[in-house]
Symmetry: C3
Subunit: 282 residues, 3 copies
């Protein structure tokens, strides 16, 4: 374990995740998403299921205003049309001006030049959080050429240094999604072992998690929790729901449906028994 | 009850809703949708389930031609890209020229400037029907600043005057969606108590209803029913199917699937026993 | 039966379909889709379910590069925005330069002028395969004005001459989808009787098949199978899964979910018992 990655308490995370989920349902944060055309519907349904209010406002002339009203913002680069690219920059400016926390999801950067350039520009604007698979995090840190389309070709552990580097450089919480999820603010880190392989067999399994992080960051801002906790709590709630959904599914179609039901059903009290978290043990 | 809102017969509505559903299935109207990127797939699936033929034609150079061929048109402003804004105006011109009935759904107008301006311009073109939640109807009538993103912050009853005002001004049937649905042509009104809270937990729950209204308006035009009846019949069929879907669902994921199955299964003969309608009793 | 349509062995197809499905799962082809906004999510889920890696890269500046990396490409004209039109031409140039097989799906051409012109331009670039319903194939061959929106108004048999003509002219495998599927390279032909009517009650039922064809063409290129076999194998696997899904469904909502599960569950060994194929018997 690196010196920079000082232990943080797993039980703190579990406790705050439960209170954040309760807070989010008591006062649903308005979650602004600029996301790719493949997963817009699924992402909105995930946000509704978990208990927040989604709004997909991704045009120039509206996204900046709305980012100022919203509780949290997701900028996902999966299908970055010219309109969405301009709207993303406008939204981040609006979020920055009003202090709205925002998440950057640099989908499939590396080999694809337009989104790669945009991801680097957006990172310089200091996202509250950055979420990606290991290949995307390595590519954003300039340490590899990215994965194969949207799939990671690198392991979570291979991206630890890249995650820390991005976190320190941009003041962001960095989440590396994979069979194990790593979440760090550059000093402290959580390692989450919850989740299920079926999440990789449903389009938007990762993208929707980025939106849930934006929602939890909104609730955390209102509630006084650290961004590191908010991002890890979002991952915890999402992956615990995924495990429950997998228990009642026989394939990827049924799993996607069951995931929405499980996200709606999961309760703050369920988290402590289901969480498999290590703190600082990189 | 206002003088303008003279009683209309609830049993007439129930009877004509049944015959319209039968007519629609016997000769599926081609339903042209320009709708937002979040709900395109769900909307098309709702239209297929209820028994009509959907077509999402939303580009410049095609939408005007197609609106002339189609039986009904929906213009939904949920994610109004520049291309969709131009295509909407082209489509409405085509619909107007050929007498194709059309529905305006002014999603989330109020705080968002681009769509708000477009909604006002489109309203001046005299939609056959306008569908929105209470906050959207109030905003379109100039009586409030709109809701919170896509969510209503006002009750259906608070929007009665706005609905009547829009109906009279633009010659439109106005439908205010909510826990109770109000549908009026400015003189007569229906109040529908069918539906289920889970419709608000699925993205596109309201947007798809606008598309079903366009389909029923198409069938009504061929069949000689009044637009007021067509819009109320669409709401009735949709919300009755939602109640049946809720009976077999344990969460929002399963509900969305069950809604499609229920829309395909509901029969004209089912309507009279399930309908909870008041006529003119505002 | 025409002289041009010489018999080909149905048992060869069944055997190679099984080996192609196994090959595709052992080394998932990266499948590049430029497709319409209605079906992007469903198409990606179908590709994930069958065992391939989807990537929806549809912007200018990226689609050409990506078509060179991908194993197969789909160009579907369902909602052809200006950006997608330019990205399609760029992608086809990239695919052509690198030998990536590609599928053209000329959705709803005929009455709609923008996509019709684009479809003719793309056909001249010699797609590896062309997939459409009978009305679309007739319209692309210049033999009719197309169907009614996305619905065919012509039977598969009525499109035999058009299919052969396109195949010979552009060197393409042509697949006519319908209650019976016809697949021909202009000399040999297969006629598949698998499938289910519920595929027409789910949006993207046909569009997603075009994507599966692109995936199988990618696997076939790596494996040494003919494009005719790849396209027919994709249809076979897809329609056999549809039959299994229909057995456990009570409506179109449940069917779409069950189709994904069935696509994930179907095994190479299942094909021979379920296939209903005639070779050359037009």
């Amino acid at each position: 374990m690196s010196d920079l990655l000082r232990p943080a308490s797993a039980s703190d995370l579990v406790e705050q995740a439960a209170s954040l989920l309760a807070a989010l349902r008591a006062a649903p944060p308005l979650t602004h998403c600029i996301t790719n055309s493949v997963v817009t519907g699924f992402t909105a349904n995930v946000l509704l299921a978990v208990g927040t209010a989604p709004a997909m406002v991704d045009i120039v002339g509206e996204s900046g205003v709305f980012a100022g009203i919203a509780s949290g913002l997701l900028v996902n680069l999966g299908t970055p049309t010219p309109e969405q690219r301009a709207a993303s920059l406008e939204a981040v400016a609006g979020a920055t001006a009003s202090g709205t926390p925002w998440v950057l999801d640099p989908v499939a950067i590396g080999a694809l030049p337009v989104r790669t350039a945009l991801a680097h520009s957006l990172a310089e604007l200091r996202p509250t959080a950055i979420r990606g698979n290991a290949s995307e995090i390595l590519a954003l840190a300039g340490l590899s050429g990215g994965g194969r389309g949207v799939d990671a070709t690198d392991s979570t552990d291979a991206a630890i240094d890249a995650a820390r580097s991005l976190a320190v450089r941009f003041g962001s919480v960095v989440a590396v999604s994979g069979p194990v999820d790593l979440i760090t603010d550059g000093e402290r880190a959580f390692r989450l072992d919850n989740g299920h392989e079926l999440l990789t067999r449903v389009t938007g399994g990762g993208c929707a998690l980025g939106a849930v992080m934006a929602a939890f960051l909104g609730a955390a801002r209102a509630n006084g929790n650290a961004p590191l906790i908010a991002v890890a709590a979002a991952s915890l709630v999402y992956t615990i729901a995924a495990e429950r959904a997998a228990e009642v599914s026989t394939g990827p179609g049924g799993f996607a449906v069951a995931l929405l039901d499980a996200l709606a059903a999961v309760q703050p009290a369920d988290i402590s028994s289901a969480a498999r978290v290590e703190a600082g043990a990189l």
